[in-house]
């Protein structure tokens, strides 16, 4: 009961193997994908990606991107995908704080606000993942 999952960033292929299921942070809420899912393209927002392989659940913090499902294959194209081990809590906290400070000083620029909010959401996703494990 497995299908192929590829997680790809512009910089490299993060993951490519068969998994039993995968849960993705879709822009309209979390969605789970099992085998034989209909062909689908959907945007993703920063959050957690969860997949089940050999009875073990693995989690990654992901950024913005989209997912493409075709027959027996799920491709996640994303600008960030990072495992729990690779997250440095202090660094992320600092980056998040910087973004929050910037958000307060940014004024009315809606685009800038949106960009910073995305940044904060990404940081939050990484921190949540890191802290959950403890």
């Amino acid at each position: 009961m497995a299908f192929q999952l590829d997680i790809v960033t512009p910089e490299k292929t993060i993951f490519s193997d068969t998994v039993d299921d995968v849960y993705l942070p879709g822009s309209e809420g979390e969605m789970g994908i099992l085998e034989m899912h209909a062909a689908l393209v959907a945007p993703l927002q920063p959050g957690e990606l969860r997949y089940l392989k050999d009875g073990k659940v693995e989690e990654l913090a992901v950024g913005e991107g989209f997912v493409e499902v075709t027959g027996d294959k799920v491709s996640v194209l994303i600008d960030l995908a990072i495992g729990e081990d690779a997250i440095n809590e202090a660094d992320v906290e600092e980056a998040m704080k910087r973004a929050q400070d910037a958000l307060e000083g940014v004024g009315d620029d809606v685009d800038e606000q949106a960009a910073l909010q995305t940044l904060i959401a990404k940081s939050e996703a990484m921190l949540n993942l890191k802290r959950k494990r403890r």
Partner: protein
């Protein structure tokens, strides 16, 4: 015949120059390898993005999206990707020539890289922004550039956004190119472009026809997905071009430095020959003097 000490001094200076150029050659070679690998690593992403875009195009009305809409005005904004540092052969000069012939007279410029920024400023072109991009190119560096250009386009300030960069063909061959970024030519959308990935094909024909046969569901709908995807596409294009330009820079520098090292070696050889000749001449002269003196004493 030149002075012995002068020749020695020149040999020494050429030698130290050749050591520097040799070191630069090695550094450039290592960085070039990295940049090439980076361009290759992006290929998976490019493949998949292209496939989805081809499909999306079939499912949405053409020209419906503002990023796809052609405009009549001719106001052009050009992103020029040059190098931060020199000593890379004719790379920047060639690119400049290309820009000169391809861009419209009153185009405004945005730059990345010091070299052509200075040149463009010198000839009095209007520069409106400049970015520094780290090495190796991080994907995050492409985003603010893409965002800036998209905004300028959508606000109507400019009707056309183009990018000038050096396309990496091979280690010995880089070609300057000017590519239209916005509006996205819907004919180009999802098509293979030869600067995506180094050298070889990105999307094979079979891949593309396979993609066309799949009927996707779009969540929430095709327009919504297109809305999200086009900015990603632009980000990725800029990233890819930055990587290409970087690979070109390093390989051009490697080749230039290799030539410089070879020239220095030849020069050292010639100078050493001259030095030995001069030394021999001096010894002969000295011997002559001694024998003449001895003859005179007899």
């Amino acid at each position: 015949m030149a002075n012995l000490r002068d020749i020695r001094r020149r040999i020494k200076s050429v030698k130290s120059t050749s050591q520097i150029t040799k070191a630069m050659e090695l550094v450039a070679a290592a960085k070039m390898k990295k940049a090439q690998n980076q361009a290759l690593a992006g290929r998976d992403y490019a493949d998949k993005l292209n496939k989805v875009l081809v499909n999306l195009k079939a499912n949405t009305e053409e020209e419906s999206h503002p990023l796809l809409a052609k405009r009549d005005g001719g106001k052009e904004l050009m992103l020029v990707i040059s190098t931060e540092r020199g000593l890379c052969g004719g790379l920047n000069t060639n690119l400049f020539k290309k820009i000169h012939t391809e861009s419209s007279e009153d185009a405004h410029y945005v730059t990345s890289g010091k070299k052509l920024r200075q040149t463009l400023a010198k000839i009095g072109k209007e520069l409106i922004a400049d970015w520094q991009v780290a090495d190796p190119v991080p994907f995050n560096d492409a985003k603010p550039i893409a965002k800036f250009l998209t905004e300028k386009f959508l606000s109507g300030e400019y009707d056309k956004i183009t990018v000038a960069f050096n396309n990496f063909v091979s280690t010995l061959n880089q070609t300057p190119e000017v590519v239209q970024l916005l509006p996205i030519e819907s004919a180009d959308l999802g098509e293979k472009q030869d600067y995506e990935g180094v050298g070889e094909d990105t999307v094979s024909e079979t891949d593309k026809s396979a993609a066309m046969n799949v009927e996707y569901e779009f969540e929430p709908n095709a327009e919504g997905v297109l809305d999200k995807l086009l900015p990603l596409y632009i980000n990725f294009q800029i990233y890819q071009m930055l990587v290409e330009a970087r690979a070109s820079e390093h390989s051009a520098r490697m080749v230039a430095m290799k030539a410089a090292t070879d020239n220095a070696k030849n020069m050292i050889k010639d100078l050493t020959l001259e030095y030995n000749k001069a030394r021999q001449a001096a010894i002969t002269a000295e011997l002559l003097e001694i024998t003449t003196a001895m003859k005179a004493m007899e």
